[in-house]
């Protein structure tokens, strides 16, 4: 703080105006989970004997007692409250982790409900409101979970529990059920990246070991994504969930079920519209490419989907889209390429003419990719006419010299590919331009006459209704008049 205030003093000296509004360095904050009404009668914990000293006969009983002891929750916002109790719980958790990880034969059936209960009590909680409502994961420091010293050990225990060679899915599935999984998924919204990292590994293990939950997990992830896309635009764990999905997709059987295709088309592709795409784009693109590698016939859906959601104003996202398109083209089958080349290269041409040089540059880099170049060469007859006009125009107009020279290289490549076509297009460029202008004028003319006609119609409609009104009024008047005159007469 002192250094920042002295530097602002210096700044004051320079221009005479104090910079008081300088942003204060943000402190790392932590918050506690939204535990509504802490248990008011806090249980006093007393240390139990160590697990490693326990006779075999009493081991399970002691293990169970330790699990129960760990169900007591502590207030971590008050960092000096009940230090003794916190330490006892920490030590017990450490022992439990150690025991599950190293010794065999500990996990017997009666321990499952106790273990899952301990985990549920500790990790399932309503996440607190974000302290920073405009939290930007790229810019801001996340708010960290205050109770992490205990929470981490609970997660560690859960993970070791799932990974233990003694772990029996048939016993676990009674306690790790749909409701449990749903609550687990909600936790992915945690702002604390350490927590999400644990959750990712844990969910992955659950998916791997409890086969009966797989379809349910996929469905609930779908729901989370759909809510994120169409309702809230806010969910912290999208990247982690996509990472899990990446490996799930990898394991899909062929031919792809329609459920999975639907997931691709209706969930993964629309995810590209999110404002915060940059945070999970790498994982998303990986999922998309995984789908293509599984089944090439989904290529067309993917490309057309991306084109539909192509960013209109955000150039940073446009660059990401172009990156993803290149990843896709890297593995595309030539037969699929032919199906999408037309709309795709129209979009690429539009990117090349972007005034933002990074967008134009990213698009032009496609021509440095040998595989893409070979695809372009094979389909030069189709692609060159699509992009020629743009290349020709932008080479003369773009403000950025790097872009201009990149375009010259691309034009040169095309010239070498098919000089005849290139010459033809150069020769007809002006004529095409003229034609385009003519079409434009014709359109304007069409709309002008349409609107004139509308005017006339509305006018005649108005006249008709006026006439009708007049008529009605005249009738009314003629009815009234005799009465009036009668009244006058009397």
């Amino acid at each position: 703080v002192s250094s920042s205030s002295s530097s602002s003093l210096n700044a004051e000296k320079v221009d005479g105006f104090p910079r008081r509004s300088m942003r204060r360095a943000r402190q790392r904050r932590s918050h506690s989970s939204s535990q509504f009404r802490y248990q008011s009668s806090q249980v006093e914990l007393t240390p139990l004997p160590l697990l490693k000293d326990a006779p075999v006969a009493e081991l399970h009983d002691l293990f169970c007692k330790k699990l129960q002891q760990c169900c007591v929750l502590f207030d971590f916002l008050d960092c000096v409250a009940d230090l003794k109790g916190k330490e006892i719980k920490r030590a017990a958790l450490n022992e439990l982790v150690e025991s599950v990880a190293t010794s065999r034969g500990v996990l017997i059936e009666p321990l499952y409900p106790e273990a899952i209960k301990m985990i549920s009590v500790n990790i399932f909680r309503t996440l607190p409101p974000s302290e920073n409502p405009d939290f930007d994961p790229e810019e801001d420091e996340p708010t960290l979970e205050a109770s992490w010293p205990h929470l981490q050990l609970v997660y560690e225990f859960f993970l070791r529990f799932l990974e233990s060679p003694d772990f029996q899915p048939s016993m676990a599935k009674r306690y790790v059920d749909q409701k449990f999984v749903l609550q687990l998924l909600e936790l992915f919204d945690s702002e604390d990246p350490r927590e999400r990292e644990y959750l990712k590994t844990i969910l992955h293990r659950v998916y791997g070991k409890l086969l009966g939950l797989r379809a349910y997990i996929r469905k609930q992830i779908n729901n989370i994504f759909l809510r994120f896309i169409y309702e809230t635009e806010h969910f912290n764990g999208v990247a982690e969930l996509l990472e899990i999905l990446g490996s799930i997709i990898n394991g899909f059987a062929l031919p792809l079920k329609s459920e999975h295709k639907q997931f691709l088309v209706r969930v993964l592709i629309p995810l590209h519209t999110a404002k915060s795409l940059s945070i999970f784009h790498a994982q998303l693109a990986y999922c998309v490419v995984q789908f293509m590698e599984k089944d090439a016939t989904v290529t067309e859906y993917i490309i057309r989907g991306l084109l539909k959601y192509w960013p209109k104003t955000c150039t940073q996202k446009e660059v990401m889209f172009l990156g993803e398109i290149e990843e896709i083209l890297d593995v595309i089958e030539p037969s699929q390429f032919i199906r999408v080349q037309e709309p795709l290269f129209k979009q690429i041409a539009a990117c090349i003419s972007s005034p933002h040089f990074q967008v134009a540059e990213r698009a032009l880099y496609f021509w440095n990719n040998e595989y893409i170049l070979s695809l372009i060469e094979e389909n030069c007859q189709v692609i060159l006419p699509l992009v020629f006009g743009t290349l020709y125009r932008v080479s003369k107009e773009h403000w950025n010299q790097t872009i201009v020279s990149l375009i010259y290289n691309v034009l040169k490549t095309f010239m070498e590919m098919n000089s005849k076509l290139f010459d033809d297009l150069t020769a007809s460029y002006k004529v095409e331009k003229q034609k385009e202008l003519k079409r434009e004028r014709e359109r304007a003319e069409l709309w002008r006459s349409l609107e004139e006609q509308q005017e006339r119609r509305l006018q005649s409609l108005g006249e008709a209704s006026r006439n009708q009104k007049n008529l009605q009024e005249r009738e009314k008047n003629s009815k009234n008049e005799p009465e009036n005159s009668a009244a006058n007469a009397t």
Partner: protein
């Protein structure tokens, strides 16, 4: 292109014959299909023009089928289409044919993008009223049923918004079906659909017969209010208001209150927030008896909630809640139950909570009357006036008028002054700006003497603030003060100080003099302007900074109307002519403009 050429020759001919429907639909559809999205969008936005050109019959038989078949486009185009179709009844031939619009709107109601879907539902709701009862059963209601049993969640979500518009106008068998569909959607397995259903629960309840409200709606309400997802539960709270309004008082306790109590203690703060946010509505809906017995303790809990969000929402409702308490026990309840919580909130750890409270707390004084205000509320106001967060202090100051009515502002002036001075010098210019805006109000309530003694120097200090927005606001503030205290006061207190700045070494301050004169001349009147202000302005025409000189020209233009014509001719004109020959192009420009506006040429 051939078709197009043909069309382009048509209009003149068509106009002459009086036959307007000669446009081949292909050309128009070409426009709707244009490759360029922007052009396509433009065409869709003028869809009514196209329909008019085609006439009602071809709109029905050709245009609408085309629109229905080709709905795969950019969401922006679809949105425009969904909106247009809501106003299309006359273009398809009136209410008799309005059902022709259903197929394209049905497709639009199933698309992914929420904005498009909502617009399609809005249009469907609109045209539902134009259906005859028979058409409603033959065409509209089957559409609702199809949507309600659609495969993908989007169509089911859209269906939720359509039940309430057709229910009142269909036969009782169809009504029974509609209720069944609504029940199904309330227990749909996607949370998106349950959320949509929950958000329409109140609206649907309103059109149902009371017996079905009791038998159907209550069970749905109870189920949604205990949904596994908090995003669904909180929507049930909203519905609670409408439902409680519909039921007779004696049923509320058994049918609504258990659920409402549970919501007020929900484990998710989002649900509790919703309860706090809707508290006044809930209070009105359940009536005074339940309020006394149930809502008072619930409100106390919300004011003490562990989440700041909830406390802030509840704090916002303190005044409204107290106002709506039954008169016979209002004061007791406030004094014994509410005020202790309010006292705690004054020193809350969260500034949003404190500032929410500060924005309403002054309103309590009118409810509690003079004695209670002085004894109990005044200490709280004073504490908030000293709060470390400027927003809290501002909120108190901005509501001073409520207290003024009850106890007079003088009671506060001792604490008010330090608070105002501190805000006036706050590091954030937006805070300084906000306090300036309250100056005329404060001046009015504190009186001229107090003002001259304590606040005048602040107002003058703002004129030389380093942020332009503050200097500008300070100028504007002076005008308002003069309007309040009169020209004589201005001449004695403000004008000398303003004119003094004309000799300041900083040209920005010299310009401030001109801006003040612009603002004050009218309020001060001809005499002061001519005698005191004009000479200073004229003298500044020799300033070495061009910005000052062209502002002199602008000022002369501005104050010209206040001066008499003789003065204009003899004093102003020569100076403007001199400036019009200035070497600086801007000075010349504004001088010439002033000459022409004042007609001195």
């Amino acid at each position: 292109a051939r078709l197009r050429a043909e069309v382009l020759n048509c209009p003149s001919m068509a106009g002459a014959d009086g036959d307007d429907s000669l446009y081949p639909i292909a050309v128009l559809i070409d426009e709707l299909r244009n490759e360029d999205v922007q052009l396509r969008l433009n065409s869709i936005k003028k869809l009514s023009t196209i329909a008019l050109a085609l006439g009602v019959e071809r709109t029905r038989t050709e245009l609408l089928p085309f629109l229905t078949d080709t709905i795969y486009d950019e969401d922006e185009v679809l949105l425009a289409l969904a909106e247009q179709l809501g106003n299309f009844t006359m273009l398809v031939g009136g209410p008799e044919y309005v059902h022709c619009l259903l197929p394209p709107l049905e497709s639009l109601a199933t698309v992914e993008e929420t904005v498009v879907r909502d617009k399609a539902v809005e249009s469907l709701r609109k045209i539902s009223h134009e259906h005859s009862p028979v058409d409603l059963e033959v065409h509209f209601e089957p559409l609702v049923k199809r949507l309600a049993s659609g495969d993908w969640f989007t169509s089911r979500t859209s269906a939720c918004g359509l039940f309430s518009v057709c229910y009142p106008r269909v036969s009782s068998t169809v009504k029974a079906e509609i209720r069944q569909h609504f029940r199904n959607l309330c227990s749909d397995d996607t949370p998106m659909v349950r959320r949509a259903a929950a958000s329409k629960l109140g609206e649907f309840a309103k059109v149902l017969e009371l017996e079905y409200v009791k038998s159907d709606i209550i069970s749905l309400f109870t189920a949604l209010a205990s949904d596994e997802q908090d995003s669904v539960r909180l929507l049930a709270v909203e519905a609670c208001v409408s439902i409680a309004t519909l039921l007779p008082q004696e049923d509320l306790e058994t049918l609504v209150m258990p659920t409402l109590r549970q919501a007020a203690e929900d484990k998710s703060w989002r649900v509790r927030y919703m309860v706090a946010d809707k508290f006044s509505e809930l209070q009105k809906a359940v009536g005074p008896e339940i309020t006394k017995n149930d809502l008072v303790p619930a409100f106390q809990n919300l004011l003490k909630d562990c989440e700041a969000e909830v406390r802030a929402a509840a704090a916002n409702k303190v005044k409204e809640f107290c106002e709506n308490l039954p008169e016979d026990s209002r004061e007791t309840i406030i004094m014994t139950h509410i005020l202790p919580c309010v006292k705690e909130l004054v020193s809350d750890t969260n500034q949003h909570v404190k500032s929410a409270l500060a924005s309403v707390i002054m309103g309590l004084s009118t409810i509690l009357g003079k004695d209670n205000t002085i004894e109990h509320l005044l200490p709280l106001f004073l504490a908030q006036l000293k709060d470390e967060c400027p927003e809290v202090r501002l909120n108190i100051i901005s509501n001073l008028d409520c207290v003024n009515e009850v106890i007079g502002i003088r009671q506060l002036s001792q604490s008010l002054l330090p608070a105002i001075v501190e805000l006036a010098e706050d590091a954030k210019w937006r805070v300084r700006l906000a306090i300036i805006e309250y100056m005329p109000l404060l001046a009015g309530q504190l009186g001229v003497e107090f003002f001259d003694e304590k606040l005048n120097s602040l107002c003058m200090a703002w004129l030389v603030d380093h942020v332009y927005a503050i200097r500008e606001a300070a100028t504007c503030n002076l005008t308002k003060l003069v309007e309040k205290f009169g020209a004589e006061w201005a001449q004695n207190t403000i004008v000398p100080k303003v004119l003094g700045m004309a000799n300041d070494p900083n040209y920005l301050h010299r310009m401030t003099t001109l801006f003040c004169i612009n603002a004050l001349s009218e309020a001060c009147g001809q005499e002061i302007t001519t005698k005191h202000m004009l000479p200073v302005v004229l003298k500044m025409s020799n300033d070495q900074v061009a910005n000052v000189r062209f502002n002199v020209a602008k000022s002369l233009q501005k104050i010209g109307p206040v001066l008499d014509s003789n003065c204009l001719q003899t004093e102003v004109k020569p100076v403007l002519e001199k400036l019009a020959a200035d070497q600086d192009i801007d000075v010349k420009y504004f001088a010439q403009e002033a000459i022409s506006v004042l007609a001195l040429a």
